[in-house]
């Protein structure tokens, strides 16, 4: 949680898209930006990139104001996937409320996915977040490519870990919203149990989701 100001009745949340290099994190955000109505969201801010590789982060903010006047701002970030930018990943991961892990479906990338996930686990613990209590959705991206690991196999592996898995092709816009919705729902539920958003601040889950995911 970036900010929770009861006086100003404002909540600022952070959702981080994590994953190995070139798995399509920024593409996910671009697709969300394109598919959602601009009423619920801000502009996509892409900090300096080199040759399409994120070196700092991308940011796509979403806004919601409940009839009660309580405001929720959800900032969606991507991290740079390249191994060398670990410090940046750690900095972005600070105070995250939820994580979407974007994996590359290609057979050849399974080791990279594993390494990146291990890195996520490590960095979460370094910034003081418990991975088993953090809303976490796994997206297997690039389903449109050949030589991808079979969905059945992926589901078998990851469901054992108890994590929700979504198949996607961010480039074609498939599975992107589904992933986002799942992450936001988990995130909302986790916050609701902590803050009683509905009882205390009159924030309705369905209305919130509708508002920020207006297509």
């Amino acid at each position: 949680m970036i900010e929770f100001d009861e006086h100003q009745r404002k909540l600022v949340l952070k959702l981080v898209y994590y994953g190995p290099a070139l798995s399509g994190k920024t593409t996910n955000l671009l697709s969300l930006h394109d598919q959602f109505d601009r009423n619920g969201r801000g502009e996509l801010m892409m900090l300096d990139t080199t040759e399409d590789r994120t070196i700092y982060f991308d940011l796509l903010p979403f806004f919601y104001e409940a009839p009660s006047g309580f405001k929720i701002k959800l900032k969606v970030f991507t991290v740079p996937g390249q191994v060398r930018h670990d410090a940046t990943r750690k900095a972005v991961l600070q105070r995250a409320d939820g994580v979407v892990f974007v994996a590359d479906s290609r057979t050849s990338m399974m080791a990279m996915n594993g390494e990146s996930f291990a890195n996520l686990e490590q960095n979460l613990s370094l910034v003081g977040l418990a991975i088993d209590q953090l809303p976490l959705v796994v997206q297997f991206n690039k389903r449109d490519l050949a030589e991808v690991v079979a969905e059945e196999e992926i589901r078998k592996t990851w469901s054992e870990a108890g994590l929700p898995v979504v198949m996607a092709s961010a480039l074609q816009g498939r599975g992107v919203i589904e992933t986002f919705r799942m992450a936001v729902e988990l995130l909302f539920d986790s916050l609701d149990s902590k803050l009683q958003l509905r009882e205390k601040y009159g924030v309705d889950r369905a209305a919130f989701l509708r508002a920020i995911m207006k297509t």
Binding site: I2, E3, V12, K14, R41, G42, E43, M45, L47, D48, Y56, F57, L59, P61, F63, K73, K75, F77, A87, T88, K90, A91, V92, Q94, R95
Partner: protein, 434 residues
């Protein structure tokens, strides 16, 4: 580096107000330029509607109403400020100018925000790298300290062990010395017992002989009183003389006494040589010309040289050497004596001395019988001798070894049976000659 210095830390994504993103001076020129288009007031209002930067004239209450346009300025897509433009007389370009102004302002805000975010990440990363370096440095220092302690402990351990070893070696040396003394005592007992044995036995026989002498003397005295004629005295005396085998007794007495004297001499010789072995460390040292000592020694031994012996000397100049000269002379004498006894005829003995960087080297070479390989390790043992009993005490080289070791030197013997023996004495030149 002081580690309590608070870190500059950012939470990526923290909310920012318009006033944190832009400064008045940044947007003033832009607002000012709007006045050139006929706009009378250009202002940027913050989220609460209060002017952050206000250029031109406020409308006074009595002044006519103005045309005004308000456009939002967003931060991360959220309206955080308002661009307010006022115009007295309507102008067809007003809206277009307003649009341009909004775009320009928005661009400044967005770019500033991007720069700030970039800086924040960058700072976080630098901070973390620095923290990592500090940590690494601390670990390195820690490990360096550990190794230093280890090295120090090791040194201490080595010292302790060295001391222990030195102690043990001292004890061992002591034991060896005791063993040597034991061996010496045993050898001595044997060497001395032997002559004492036969001296005692000889004296026993001689005392029986003495009784016969006394009897003969008594008989003569009595016969002189009893007999009136010399013939009668002679006859009776001769009869008893023969009965007592006095001819043999007289002869044997001489032999017995001669042997006893020899035995006593042998004991005296052994004792004399032992004096060298018991080492007289308290003796005073003198600056000695070893060449002179060698020459004198060889001259004093000249009467012992076999007639056909050939002696070669090659004595090179030596510095004065601080030593117990008589002892060294005794040692050299023992070595030369061995050489003299190594061959009955055709002996060639050569004695040479030379100076090496830190030592004086004296070499004795003979072309004698040589020493059997099996005997070599024992040549310095006290009482070890290969010569017939009585002709050598077996103390010569033992004493020589003791004397030369006592002077800090060493003695080395190379020998081939039938070819000869080379005996090399090496004496270190002490600090005084360094």
């Amino acid at each position: 580096m002081n580690e309590t210095t608070p870190n500059i830390s950012f939470v990526i994504g923290e909310e920012k107000h318009l006033s944190q993103i832009i400064s008045r001076s940044e947007i003033e020129p832009l607002l000012l330029s709007a006045l050139a288009t006929g706009i009378v007031r250009a202002a940027l209002l913050d989220a609460d509607g209060l002017p952050f930067c206000d250029i031109g004239n406020m409308r006074a209450p009595q002044m006519p109403e103005r045309a005004a346009i308000r456009l939002p300025i967003r931060v991360e897509g959220e309206p955080q400020g308002t661009l307010l433009l006022e115009l007295e007389t309507p102008n067809p370009l007003f809206e277009a100018v307003a649009q341009v102004m909004q775009n320009a302002l928005q661009l400044i805000v967005t770019n500033n925000l991007k720069r700030m975010l970039t800086t924040e990440v960058h700072t976080s990363v630098v901070q973390e790298s620095y923290d990592q370096l500090v940590l690494t440095n601390r670990h390195l220092q820690e490990s360096e300290r550990r190794y230093r302690n280890l090295a120090r402990d090791l040194e201490q351990k080595v010292e302790e062990r060295t001391a222990e070893l030195r102690q043990a070696s001292k004890r061992l040396l002591q034991q060896e010395k005791l063993a040597a003394v034991g061996q010496l005592a045993a050898g001595m007992a044997h060497e001395i017992n032997n002559p004492i044995g036969f001296i005692r036995s000889n004296l026993g026989s001689f005392s029986k002989y003495l009784n016969r002498f006394l009897e003969m003397l008594g008989l003569y005295r009595r016969l002189l009183d009893e007999e009136s004629t010399t013939a009668a005295v002679r006859s009776r005396a001769n009869q008893r003389w023969n009965e007592l085998k006095m001819d043999f007794v007289l002869e044997d007495s001489a032999v017995l006494l001669g042997q006893s004297v020899d035995g006593a001499d042998r004991i005296a010789r052994i004792v004399a040589e032992l004096k060298g072995f018991s080492y007289l460390g308290e003796m005073e040292k003198f600056e000695t010309d070893l060449n002179l000592e060698l020459e004198q020694l060889l001259a004093s031994l000249a009467d012992k040289f076999p007639p056909d012996m050939k002696l070669t000397t090659d004595l090179q100049p030596l510095p004065l050497y601080s030593c117990h000269a008589p002892l060294l002379a005794q040692a050299f004498g023992s070595i030369i004596d061995n050489g003299l006894k190594s061959r009955t005829s055709g002996l060639h003995l050569s004695v040479s001395s030379r100076l090496e960087p830190e030592t004086i080297v004296i070499t004795f070479v003979d072309n004698g019988c040589g020493i059997a390989e099996a005997d070599l390790p024992r040549i310095f043992d006290p009482f070890f001798t290969t010569r017939p009993v009585g002709s050598g005490t077996g103390m010569g080289l033992a004493v020589a070894h003791e004397i030369i070791s006592g002077a800090g030197g060493s003695i080395e013997v190379l020998s081939t049976v039938g070819t000869g023996t080379t005996c090399t004495v090496t004496l270190p030149i002490g600090d005084a000659h360094a």
